[in-house]
Symmetry: C2
Subunit: 214 residues, 2 copies
DNA sequence: TAAAAATTGTAAAAAAGGTAACAAAAAAAG
DNA sequence: CTTTTTTTGTTACCTTTTTTACAATTTTTA
């Protein structure tokens, strides 16, 4: 079999498809065409069909896609058919919000550990989680089976936290700090970047305004 | 002059360049070459030069780019040479974290208003901000000059909040709710999407594991 | 049962985006 | 002062991604 590299953007879209299929499922919709789904997702039908074609054939000609079935298949592709265990580094403003956010738990993601510089200051217990000191990362990542690290500390400390997570065996990191993390190539990093999005908006608003003036 | 459409991704990279130039400036670096900057930003030098070429000539042949000057110019391009006023909808877990986050204020972004369904429940005052009921959006957006709306409420309510913001005259929205907002074409929307990033990581980890097994 | 309509999967074409290469200019070395 | 080195700005080329087009298949209509 020929190896085909799957573009990152395809994965992003698959996640969007899954999200909207879930909504359709809740609404009791059984079958959806690529045209309808594209409309909902804000993309084009051929794109959906081509994205899916990377992984196989999931539709029925003349009919469309069975919502439940496609959702299941995309879940399998993305690896959402299992529980993923998250470990949080930095239980500050943002970190607390993330821990308290129950939405993830309903979607296959569970925080199983949390770390902070000054754990004694933070008296939070959510289910099994107790905030531990940074030094405990190595032990707890293994004990609790942390697979994905979530970094929510100040940019200056973020790299060190990433290094410790990787040393402990974590291969996936979601980084909220506005800084470019440098990790070994076997480690996958995704950034969630609010300021970046603000900057993009500023540019759009600014250039829209200057276009109006002309 | 020929109109050249500037790809979205170029703007994203400009923001990254600006962020790293700021760090270089703080370190006291005066001049940087596209090779060095590319190395720091994790891209390629030709890309940086081409990105900048969309907007003009900012370097000196044989020398490189003057850090302060390039930073200033990129700031001007992105529209960061002014204060931007933000209005928050949803002062819950995430919303509070955003309000309390002072980083933005140091970078040209200021929250000037905050709205919640049950404002009486939330006793927070940060500077001039007092949490107001949703009905006050129209009045306060105008009074406080809100230019960018930040949505941090449950997905089901997000569209309504967006509509109200747009009605009040807001043309830029950063949306934290995991839902596709539908707005008029003159409104710019940027999504900050944690679950999406988690899904991408899951896919990468899953496919890396299945590759190992082979 | 036959014709028309709907819709997928995929090949081919078109568009967009990224990379390499190099002339031009400045600085450094000889 | 001349040659070599450094480095930008830009063109041409290459790669990736998106869109179009259509045969193949199923369902619906007549
Ligand atoms: N708060 C937000 O709304 C927001 C939004 C976008 C991005 N961010 C980013 O998220 C990160 C965290 O923001 P925040 O507002 O929660 O900050 P914060 O200061 O409220 O929290 C940081 C927490 O990390 C802990 N900490 C500090 N150094 C540490 C270390 N070396 N190891 C472990 N823990 C350590 C602190 O004790 C604190 O509890 C920052 O990088 C920020 O830029 C925050
Ligand atoms: N908490 C997180 O870490 C996190 C992370 C990623 C995304 N999100 C998303 O951000 C959004 C908010 O999350 P949260 O954890 O802060 O939720 P939350 O329930 O803590 O807060 C929601 C707030 O919005 C208010 N509200 C409800 N309906 C409203 C309405 N119609 N108008 C105005 N205010 C209204 C509520 O009173 C509450 O204060 C959600 O869409 C969530 O999916 C949250």
């Amino acid at each position: 079999m020929k190896f085909v590299k799957i573009p990152s953007i395809v994965i992003t879209r698959l996640s969007t498809y899954a999200r909207n299929l879930k909504i359709l499922e809740q609404k009791g919709v059984d079958v959806v065409s690529s045209v309808r789904l594209a409309d909902i997702c804000g993309t084009n039908p051929a794109q959906i069909r081509k994205d899916l074609a990377y992984f196989g054939q999931f539709g029925v000609k003349g009919v469309g896609y069975y919502v439940k079935e496609l959702l299941f298949e995309i879940g399998k592709i993305l690896g959402l058919d299992k529980e993923w265990r998250l470990g949080l580094v930095g239980v500050g403003n943002l970190g607390l919000a993330l821990l308290r956010h129950t939405h993830f738990m309903n979607h296959g993601y569970t925080f199983v550990a949390a770390f902070d510089e000054k754990p004694e200051r933070i008296d939070i217990r959510i289910g099994d989680i107790e905030v531990a000191p940074l030094e405990a990362i190595n032990r707890l990542v293994k004990e609790k089976g942390v697979e994905i690290g979530v970094i929510a500390i100040k940019p200056v400390w973020a790299q060190k936290a990433a290094d410790m997570l990787v040393m402990a065996g974590v291969c996936g990191i979601v980084n909220f700090a506005p800084i470019q993390l440098q990790c070994a190539t076997h480690v996958f990093i995704e950034n969630v970047d609010f300021s970046l999005k603000l900057d993009i908006l500023c540019y759009r608003l600014t250039s829209a305004r200057s276009r109006q003036r002309r």
